[in-house]
Symmetry: C3
Subunit: 257 residues, 3 copies
């Protein structure tokens, strides 16, 4: 069964998600639908991009991912089909899809809407059916008009020199763990044969663990997580609350001379 | 695959929903189960009816919809099968099914319980199996005893004259948008060639938008939504909080002379 | 379709659950995945055990149940496969599986991890794939190394004499109902032909109902629920809040002389 995934900020107490699913299975009853999350913070494209970027490659190639976040959107944003790393993405061209990969898309198609005034629920009325047809094997070129590129948003970047890496917290997860944008690879290259100090809030650490449970209960751990980004947490505690850090807080690594 | 949908007020932290699903797939492993919502407010038949009414027609005809809201129920309420607009509904006869369509049911069957004292979890023990058999193609007449009608509840009605339409907010959605029971059709007939004023709380508007994003950020929009009811919101804001309106607040449209 | 169930404390706002599902369907696209809950309180093995124990037998025999609760775990805990009452369970050996049945497992296999330092997300990287292969019919002996037994945790026990049963509240459910560990069978044997008094908080009752709705609105009901344990609630109210009781509160039944 081909797969369609769903990522929205719609919550769970309305008819919106079921309406999208109903449309998908009506257009193509042979698809598997997998929810990624419907608990994205309202209108938060950064949160949505983090989650989608962290998981889409785990699905088989050819999977179709629907993103319906900040779906009412801004004027001029149109629904698009994007092909990226051999996955398909369908949703409003609001910048989200520019944040999920460093690779350029291998195709962008604008979904032509006959009468834009007629739809106030495009995820159901336009996106769901397009996604179902794509997952059923239809060609994106038959479902939309090829266009040049996506709307681009720029993410917080890591700054790295020989002496220092400066990054930010890009996600506070359900457990209160603080996920940074500091990649394992940069750290490993720069720390080779050197001591280092990791600083955030008022804290200083001179060690990165290889596993969450190498800290004692109530103590900080620093690990490179399964996404290969530096993650800070408190073992069996909520690091965001206990350290007073949140989205966009700075994390510094200074390498010894 | 035939479809069974699930709508409950059971939340997500117990075994209840999984127990219902386990029963369905045990009785018939060839069904697709789609969750509508498990975040209906506890015992809130109005909330459940709004959500079910807003989405059931999006599913293919013949779909079986389980409703398990206020499921402990009141004495004398029995589980029923209802056929309505070529869909099936299974659940306690607590009035919910009378609120989801203006059309009369084309069949109501009482599910005969051998020993009512023996079950404290009828959604699992009675409703789930009946729904699975219905979805598998069994005749409702073989699963219950035909009865005359449903228990009826009466919803808030819109009042319309040539001068005025008076409606109410019937749902505050996840985004804080205020969905009224004022239908597009009545508005279009009465507003033809006339100016009008929409009033709610202390606000007055003389325009309905065709799309959410025609308002500026932080400003009110008024649209007829995908259900064709008047909806009031604040673009990228929470209208319920910012306007101080809630379920059952009055919305008036006055037409110019 | 063979079934894999999922029970975690991961919440719904991250990529974790979708990553586990993606791995399952990548390893074996012919499985049905059913969520039990992702709203287990963080790190709460008791909550997870209650939910899993209450529902796993409702699934067909041979179902594979993934438990990812307190998954970062404590040092020395390893992922295991457990065969118990003809179901399979896969997850960290943190004591959870010892709390879901009074029967001993009919097999425990340790999943051998090549390099434990390399994984910070074992539910995705180890558990999901193993579960998918088990559900596909592979032999547990080919997926792990047979070991003697599970890590054991001891649950709160009921004390019963001819004069008294003393139990505890072991779960406050979504509705605020208080589920105790007092089993119907012990009560029925000891109460035969005798009056009795049920006490909790400052309340005393001399009757157990056979159904939730035999109480009046706002009044206490006492029933043996579908799990055959004594449950205390307030009909259409929240018993935990209104009675001031919570997890681990004592419930006593005294039998008349």
């Amino acid at each position: 069964m081909a797969i369609v995934t769903l990522l929205t900020d719609s919550g769970e107490s309305d008819h919106y998600i079921a309406a999208i699913k109903a449309r998908i299975v009506t257009v193509n009853p042979n698809l598997r639908i997998i929810d990624i999350s419907h608990s994205i913070r309202m209108f938060d494209i950064g949160h949505a991009a983090f989650v989608l970027r962290s998981v889409f490659r785990d699905f088989p190639k050819g999977t179709v991912h629907i993103a319906g976040v900040d779906a009412a959107g801004n004027r001029g944003e149109i629904p698009v089909i994007v092909r990226l790393e051999e996955h398909f993405f369908v949703g409003r061209d609001n910048g989200l899809f520019s944040l999920i990969s460093d690779q350029p898309p291998t195709g962008v198609w604008e979904i032509v809407i006959q009468d834009p005034g007629l739809t106030t629920f495009p995820e159901k009325e336009i996106v769901a059916g397009t996604a179902a047809r794509l997952a059923g094997g239809e060609d994106p070129g038959s479902l939309g008009k090829a266009v040049g590129d996506l709307r681009r948003l720029i993410d917080r970047q890591v700054k790295a020199t020989r002496k220092q890496i400066t990054g930010h917290i890009i996600r506070v997860d359900h457990f209160g763990n603080l996920i940074t944008n500091i990649p394992r690879q940069a750290f490993e290259v720069l720390s080779k044969g050197k001591g280092y100090t990791v600083q955030f809030g008022g804290e200083k650490f001179r060690r990165v663990h290889s596993h969450y449970n190498q800290a004692e209960q109530g103590e900080c751990f620093l690990v490179f997580n399964s996404l290969n980004f530096l993650e800070i947490g408190i073992y069996k505690g909520n690091a965001a609350e206990l350290l007073g850090l949140s989205y966009d807080s700075v994390v510094n690594i200074t390498f010894d001379e």
